[in-house]
C-alpha cells in the first residue's frame, strides 16, 4: 500500500499521542499531525485537511464531527465514520480500546483498516502500560508498608526479622486478610499509641 495518507491524531494525552504516532510511522504512515486541546475541531480539520481523523473517545468535541457527516453542510470535505457497518467486530474493538476514526471525503474503507488496527493496538498497549505502572506502584507501596510494620513488631516484641515476619503472616492467615492490610493496621496502631 502506498502510505501517502495524511492522518490527524486528536488526543489530549501527549504520551498516548506519541505512542500512536510511533505506531503509525512503523506501519509506514509519515504524514501525521497531532493536536491536543480541541475547541474548534472542525476548524482544525479544515486547516490541516487530513484524509483520516483519529480521535480519543474522551474528547467531547467528537460530537462536532457528526455534523460533518452531512454532505450538504461542509461541502468541502464530507466525513464518514470508520469501517464497514457490517464490521461490528472492528467497531467493538475500537470503542473498547477508546478510539474512533473518521474517513474524510470518500477514502476507500479498506485503506482505513490498518490505520484503525494500529490505533486500537496502541491504545490497548497504552492502557496496559498504565495498568502495569499502577500495579508496580501499589506493589512498591505494599512492600514499604510491610517493611515498616516488621520494624515496629521487631522493636515492640523484641523479635528477630524472620520471627516478626512470620508473626505477621500468621496473623494475616488467621484473620483472612492480606499481609499488606495487617501491616497498615500495625502502622496505624503504632501511630495512635505513640
Amino acid at each position: 500500500m502506498k502510505p501517502d495518507l495524511k492522518i490527524l491524531i486528536v488526543d489530549a494525552n501527549p504520551v498516548r499521542a506519541a505512542i500512536i504516532d510511533e505506531g503509525l510511522r512503523e506501519a509506514g504512515f509519515t504524514d501525521l499531525v497531532r493536536i491536543g486541546a480541541t475547541n474548534g475541531l472542525v476548524a482544525a480539520i479544515e486547516a490541516h485537511d487530513p484524509d483520516v481523523v483519529v480521535i480519543d473517545l474522551e474528547d467531547p468535541s467528537r460530537d462536532a464531527l457528526a455534523d460533518m457527516f452531512l454532505v450538504s453542510r461542509h461541502v468541502k470535505r464530507p466525513i464518514t465514520m470508520f469501517v464497514d457497518q457490517s464490521d461490528t467486530a472492528s467497531i467493538e474493538a475500537a470503542v473498547e480500546a477508546g478510539v474512533s476514526a473518521y474517513i474524510v471525503d470518500g477514502l476507500k474503507k479498506e485503506r482505513l483498516k490498518p490505520i484503525l488496527q494500529t490505533c486500537i493496538s496502541r491504545f490497548n498497549a497504552f492502557r496496559r502500560l498504565r495498568e502495569e505502572l499502577d500495579e508496580a506502584r501499589s506493589q512498591l507501596e505494599e512492600r514499604k508498608a510491610i517493611d515498616r510494620a516488621k520494624g515496629i513488631v521487631m522493636r515492640l516484641k523484641g523479635l528477630g526479622e524472620d520471627e516478626a515476619y512470620a508473626l505477621m503472616r500468621r496473623t494475616a492467615m488467621n484473620e483472612k486478610r492480606k499481609l499488606a492490610e495487617i501491616a497498615r493496621s500495625i502502622i496505624t496502631a503504632a501511630e495512635v499509641l505513640k
Binding site: N39, L57, R62, D63, A66, F69, I91, V95, E96, S100
Partner: protein, 347 residues
C-alpha cells in the same frame, strides 16, 4: 435476584430521573442494581450502547432517530420505552450581541418574532459592512437545540447554516466558546445557559418553551433488538423511572434532588444553580429580572411518555436543517422508535 444495569449519561440536569432512580432507591425497589456511567459525548453513548458496553443510555430524542436511520455514521437502531423529560433548553447570546439585539429590536425583545427580526437586521448590517457572519452553536447536530435555533431564526427569515454559521460545541465548552467569541450564541440544556448568565458572559434570549411548548428532549434509549429480548429489564427500569418521576415532581424534593445532581460524580456543579433550574427561576442577565418559567423543564409522569408524535417534530426540524429530505418511509421508522406500549404497561 438483583439485575445489574449499566446506563450511560451526560452531565446535564435532564439526567435527573436516572440519578434519582439510582440514588433514592427506586431502582433497588425494582430489584435492580443501577450503575450510572458518566460520559463526554452523545457519539460515545451511541457507540457504547451499540456494542453493549451499556444496557441503556440518556439520549437526545433526535439522536435516537438519527442513529436508527443511520444518519450519523453507524446505523444503530434504537428503541425508546420511556422519555426522561420535556423542555429544558434556552438560547443564550453573548452580552455584546444581546445589547446589539436590544438596540435593533422593534417591540418587546421577549417576543421571539421581534428578536428574530432584530437578528435579521444584525445579519444584514454585518453583511453590508463586510463583517464575518454570526456563529450560533448547538450541542449536537441531531438535537432539539439545532431545530429550536432553526425555528426561531426562521421567524425573522434568517436561515441557520446559511445566513448564520452553525457549529457544534459540546455542552461543557459552550460558556468558554461564548466567552472567547468563537460563537455569538448557543442553544443548550440546563445548567449551561444559567452558568453563562451567572458568570456574566451571556444573556438568555429565549427559553425553549417560548418557541416550542412540550418540546421533545431526552429519552432513555435501548438497542432496538434489546427492548423485546430483555423485556423484564426494560420493564423494571421503566417502573423505577416512573417512581422517580413522581418523586421528582414534588417541589419539596427539589433541594435534595439538586444536591444529588450537583454531586462530583454526577454533574459536578453548584446545587443552587440546579435548584433554580428545577424551580423554573431563570436568571436572564442583561439587566432583566429573574423570570419564572413554570414548565422550563418537565419531569412529571405525563412528560415521560414516549410519544410517536414527537418524531414528526424532529423530522420537520431535520428537514429544515437539511439533514434529511422528505421521506415517508423514514417518518414511519422514526415513529416506531417511540414505544408507548412498553410505557403504559408499567404505569
Amino acid at each position: 435476584m438483583t439485575l445489574h444495569l449499566r446506563v450511560g449519561f451526560l452531565p446535564l440536569v435532564d439526567a435527573a430521573l436516572l440519578v434519582a432512580a439510582a440514588d433514592e432507591g427506586f431502582a433497588e425497589a425494582e430489584g435492580l442494581s443501577l450503575e450510572l456511567v458518566r460520559d463526554v459525548s452523545w457519539s460515545n453513548l451511541r457507540d457504547k450502547l451499540h456494542v453493549r458496553l451499556l444496557d441503556a443510555a440518556h439520549m437526545l430524542a433526535p439522536a435516537a432517530i438519527a442513529s436508527t436511520l443511520g444518519l450519523n455514521g453507524v446505523k444503530a437502531p434504537m428503541a425508546v420505552p420511556i422519555a426522561l423529560n420535556l423542555n429544558g433548553n434556552a438560547i443564550t447570546v453573548s452580552q455584546r450581541r444581546f445589547e446589539e439585539l436590544s438596540r435593533a429590536a422593534q417591540g418587546d425583545l421577549a417576543d421571539p418574532a421581534v428578536s428574530a427580526r432584530a437578528l435579521a437586521k444584525l445579519v444584514a448590517t454585518r453583511k453590508a459592512s463586510g463583517l464575518p457572519p454570526l456563529t450560533f452553536a448547538a450541542v449536537f447536530a441531531f438535537s432539539s437545540h439545532t431545530y429550536l435555533l432553526g425555528e426561531w431564526m426562521a421567524l425573522g427569515g434568517v436561515k441557520l447554516g446559511e445566513d448564520v454559521r452553525f457549529e457544534v460545541v459540546p455542552p461543557v465548552r459552550t460558556v468558554e466558546a461564548l466567552s472567547s467569541g468563537q460563537v455569538d450564541g448557543f442553544c443548550a440544556g440546563a445548567p449551561w445557559n444559567t452558568l453563562a448568565v451567572a458568570t456574566g458572559i451571556g444573556a438568555i434570549l429565549h427559553c425553549g418553551v417560548d418557541l416550542q411548548p412540550d418540546c421533545p428532549e431526552k429519552v432513555l434509549a435501548w438497542r432496538a433488538d434489546d427492548v423485546e429480548r430483555r423485556s423484564e429489564a426494560v420493564s423494571k427500569l421503566n417502573a423505577a423511572l416512573i417512581e422517580a418521576s413522581r418523586w421528582a415532581n414534588s417541589p419539596a424534593n427539589w433541594p435534595h434532588l439538586a444536591e444529588l445532581l450537583a454531586a462530583p460524580e454526577r454533574l459536578n456543579t453548584r446545587a443552587d444553580i440546579v435548584e433554580s433550574v428545577l424551580r423554573g427561576e431563570i436568571a436572564q442577565g442583561g439587566n432583566r429580572p429573574t423570570r419564572h418559567v413554570p414548565d422550563y423543564i418537565r419531569f412529571d409522569p405525563d412528560a415521560i411518555r414516549p410519544d410517536p408524535a414527537h418524531a414528526d417534530w424532529v423530522l420537520a426540524g431535520m428537514g429544515r436543517a437539511g439533514q434529511l429530505s422528505d421521506d415517508p418511509a423514514a417518518a414511519e421508522i422514526a415513529r416506531l422508535v417511540f414505544r408507548p406500549a412498553l410505557f403504559e404497561a408499567r404505569r
